[in-house]
């Protein structure tokens, strides 16, 4: 069943059905985003819950012009970056992880591993920018609002992230044009 879009009035009143609809619509995407940022299921689950708790707390201040998804991603991104600051560590796979595994995985899984490793080479800000742009489809202006950066800075970070990703991905054996200047 497709959850209905909760109204701002319902959300501000913390209507139970509106809360349920909000989770049904956004939980999976927020979780995946956080999981791809921290690369740890348990941490991603905790951060997602924290994000929705923060959203719940702030719902009464929601105004009718708020872009709900962008607002939630901003909270999620802040939570993830707080986690990075607290943990001061990343649990990303090392770059040579692939060499210790057989090459018998299906191509898609192997490709996903390569992407994981290439993404591990990016800074957490570059990962956020690339995910929000390429996967979630936010504009650079929206991403800038989420991360507290100017639009041009986001465009710059996006270009650098793609370039870095392409270089590492190609070095790992991924199929990508290495000669195009990004």
């Amino acid at each position: 069943m497709v959850a209905h879009e909760p109204s701002f009035e319902q959300l501000r009143a913390r209507d139970e059905s509106a809360i349920a609809a909000l989770i049904d619509q956004h939980y999976a995407a927020i979780y995946r985003y956080l999981f791809r940022l921290v690369n740890d299921q348990r941490v991603a689950e905790d951060l997602t819950q924290d994000t929705f708790l923060d959203v719940f707390v702030s719902l009464p201040q929601l105004n009718n012009h708020t872009r709900l998804a962008a607002w939630m991603y901003r909270i999620a991104t802040n939570n993830a970056h707080s986690y990075f600051r607290r943990a001061r560590r990343f649990r990303w796979l090392p770059l040579d992880w692939r060499s210790s595994h057989s090459h018998s995985h299906e191509d898609r899984v192997a490709d996903s591993d390569l992407v994981t490793q290439a993404m591990a080479a990016l800074t957490d800000e570059q990962r956020s920018v690339l995910l929000l742009y390429a996967w979630q489809g936010f504009s650079c202006a929206e991403i800038g609002e989420m991360l507290g950066k100017r639009e041009n800075a986001v465009k710059m970070a996006l270009s650098r992230a793609r370039r870095r990703f392409r270089d590492v991905y190609a070095a790992l054996g991924g199929v990508v044009d290495p000669e195009v200047e990004l």
Binding site: A28, Y31, R32, D111, S159, F165, D177
Partner: protein
């Protein structure tokens, strides 16, 4: 449109945000520019990889989060209200001012303790001799000297002390003349404490009871809790002991 414009759009623009005219111009440029087509293929290839990678993560904890928030939506929200109180911008100055006032109060209290030293607590008295009606807790005497002391109902809490007020009655012969002294024996640390300097008594007052004629202030002694005795001594001018009396021990406690 040139290559720089086209690549700028391909790299950072959301296609749905492009105007119709720019989309047409971009497509026209791509049709005639092989390098920009390669650029587009590379950028969109990378973005497609990221997108597929993002979608590939399994989702966990959705039901748990749903139950948690629905319970919060139903249940009392005191903690959340408090949290929001601290987070909401208009309340931050209020909290800051309240915090500063608290700190100011603590600082003032530390610098100069208020009249807390006068805070009193009930005094438990186990006197050797007592007249409850008049609260006279130490009574002693012989045929010549009698001492009556009165303890207040309360002892000082902070200083942990008791103040005892005593009255001496002396019956002197006409030949008696000398010094009458009153002292406290015992108390905390078993200290001996004189109530006052010895008082000169002379012939002219020999038959007059020494009562309130002794300054009340000078007959006040403060001591710590414990057992005490009151002792009155009458000595002649040459130091000869004329009369002496000591009360039984009384116990003073501040609970």
């Amino acid at each position: 449109m040139n290559c720089a414009d086209a690549r700028q759009i391909l790299a950072t623009a959301v296609p749905s945000d492009l105007s119709h005219e720019r989309r047409i111009a971009l497509n026209a440029h791509l049709e005639r520019c092989d390098a920009c087509r390669r650029y587009r293929a590379t950028v969109s290839g990378i973005d497609a990889l990221i997108s597929a990678w993002g979608d590939g993560a399994p989702v966990r904890g959705q039901a748990k989060a749903r139950a948690m928030l629905q319970q919060k939506a139903r249940g009392p929200q005191l903690r959340l209200r408090l949290r929001r109180f601290g987070q909401t911008a208009p309340f931050r100055p209020v909290l800051a001012v309240a915090f500063m006032l608290c700190m100011l109060f603590v600082a003032l209290w530390l610098i100069r303790p208020p009249a807390l030293s006068t805070i009193v607590r009930p005094l438990v008295v186990r006197p050797a001799s007592i007249t409850p009606a008049s609260n006279k807790v130490i009574v002693t005497g012989n045929d010549r000297v009698a001492v009556t002391c009165t303890a207040p109902a309360y002892g000082s809490q902070l200083r942990n002390t008791v103040t005892l007020n005593c009255v001496v009655d002396a019956t002197l012969d006409s030949a008696d003349a000398g010094m009458l002294s009153l002292r406290l024996v015992g108390g905390q640390n078993d200290a001996q404490r004189f109530f006052a300097d010895p008082v000169q008594v002379g012939r002219g007052k020999s038959t007059t009871p020494i009562d309130a004629s002794l300054d009340g202030e000078r007959l006040r002694a403060t001591f710590g809790p414990g057992q005490v005795q009151v002792e009155a001594v009458l000595r002649a001018s040459d130091g000869t002991l004329l009369a002496s009396v000591r009360s039984p021990s009384a116990t003073f406690l501040i609970p």
